[in-house]
Symmetry: C2
Subunit: 126 residues, 2 copies
Amino acid sequence: MKTALLLIAHGSRQAEANDDLHDLADRLRSTNRYAIVQPAFLELAEPSIDEAGRGCVEQGAQRVILLPYFLSAGVHVRRDLQTYRDRLARTFPAVMFALAEPLGPHALLVEIVTERAAEAEAGFTE
Amino acid sequence: MKTALLLIAHGSRQAEANDDLHDLADRLRSTNRYAIVQPAFLELAEPSIDEAGRGCVEQGAQRVILLPYFLSAGVHVRRDLQTYRDRLARTFPAVMFALAEPLGPHALLVEIVTERAAEAEAGFTE
């Protein structure tokens, strides 16, 4: 079963913000957990979710996980992402599409915040 | 030395998105690592960064860490946050203010994404 991980960020006009998603995709590829790891953007950057989803199918994905790379997904983002999932599922009926939960809340986010705070705190005594 | 952790999210018109930051603040308070843990929002929600920063000082903070609860901080967000930090530092010259880095990129984010993907993947076989 060939599974694709479709990482979805909001998208930005700033290349550096979009680069973060590409870097994350590289890190996830290096885990070899998913046959395909594909970045996509809700807006302001390419590829779109439709285009990236099609790309996953063309690469042979039988299952595609749409993963919102958002700390939280409000009503609007969640609805938009569900719409994309449903449209992809209609367009490619032989392929399964699932929409994952956004990153937060998650205990590891507390760890990351604590680490970032400690780094900044170290700067006080420099 | 009394240190405050000032958590800063973008802010949303949706209460549930802002609640995430309050939940994170609760989790961080329970670690007892910082004397004060104070949420604030860049826009669309209260308290503002100025107001929250003042609140930390009034509670006796001698050092305040402004922590961007963002996956990444583009040029605009970073500049805005730096402006808030500098203004607080000018207003309260006896208090030290430091601006921390945003959450990403971070290896633990890869772990969270992997976990969210696995949860969604489990749904395929239900």
